[in-house]
């Protein structure tokens, strides 16, 4: 079982590398990628500078695995990769990378969408929004 969590921000080069790794898989016709990026939200006049992610890691890796299993049984995808940050990720940096591949475009797009929704709602990851003045608030997914 491949680890999902990475320490800190996900570098853009990881995306190029992941795509390049699939060029030998010539049954793939479509890749669908979702990237989460940290927004400089303004709350009561204070601007978010970073999010510090923590997780119930053992449970999270188990849930990621269950989501993968469900996705592979629902969608005819050839591969799926998920990466999520732990620790501090600054505004403008990437905190999540979901990457699915399939012979056909609709399947890849639907599968990525499924992963993103499932991850947001089911994985015990917690986010502390750190403002520029070093105060914080806890992020809640909508």
């Amino acid at each position: 079982m491949k680890k999902v969590f990475v320490q800190g921000a996900i570098p853009p080069e990881k995306i190029a590398q992941s795509v390049a790794n699939h060029q030998s898989k010539t049954n793939i016709g479509a890749h669908s990628i979702f990237l989460g990026q940290i927004r400089a939200d303004v709350v009561d006049g204070k601007t978010v500078a970073a999010i510090e992610y923590t997780a119930y890691e053992e449970m999270a890796e188990k849930v990621f695995h269950e989501i993968r299993e469900a996705a592979f049984s629902k969608f005819d995808i050839t591969c799926a990769h998920i990466y999520h940050s732990l620790g501090t990720v600054k505004i403008g940096e990437l905190c999540m990378f979901v990457f699915t591949s399939s012979a056909h475009r609709k399947i890849a797009i639907e599968a990525t969408n499924y992963f993103v929704q499932e991850i947001k709602s089911k994985v015990p990851v917690f986010g502390k929004e750190i403002f520029e003045d070093e105060t914080h608030q806890w992020k809640v997914n909508n």
Binding site: Y56, K62, P124, V125, F126, W138, K139, N141
Partner: protein, 78 residues
């Protein structure tokens, strides 16, 4: 019975610690245990806190010795 309870995110912040050993007599469901823990903490939206027993969300199961119990504030992944 002794159970170790893991705290995360704003629950850990409110508790000032990441885990705690909880002692109780008789039987408790996971939901009842969650409420006993939260009674000690100042958390406004108690309904937003979920309880996991052995890494499964469940607020109705009866707690057994050795269970891994965790209190989970709202998820913010992605």
């Amino acid at each position: 019975m002794k159970v170790t309870i893991k705290y995360f995110g704003l629950v850990a912040e409110a508790a000032g610690k990441n885990e705690e050993v909880f002692n109780f007599e008789g039987t408790l469901t996971s939901g009842e245990l969650k409420n006993k823990c939260l009674d000690q903490l100042s958390i406004l939206d108690r309904d937003s806190v979920q309880v996991a027993v052995n890494q499964n969300l469940d607020d109705t199961i009866e707690i057994k010795e050795g269970d891994e119990v965790a209190l989970l504030p709202p998820f913010a992944g992605g």
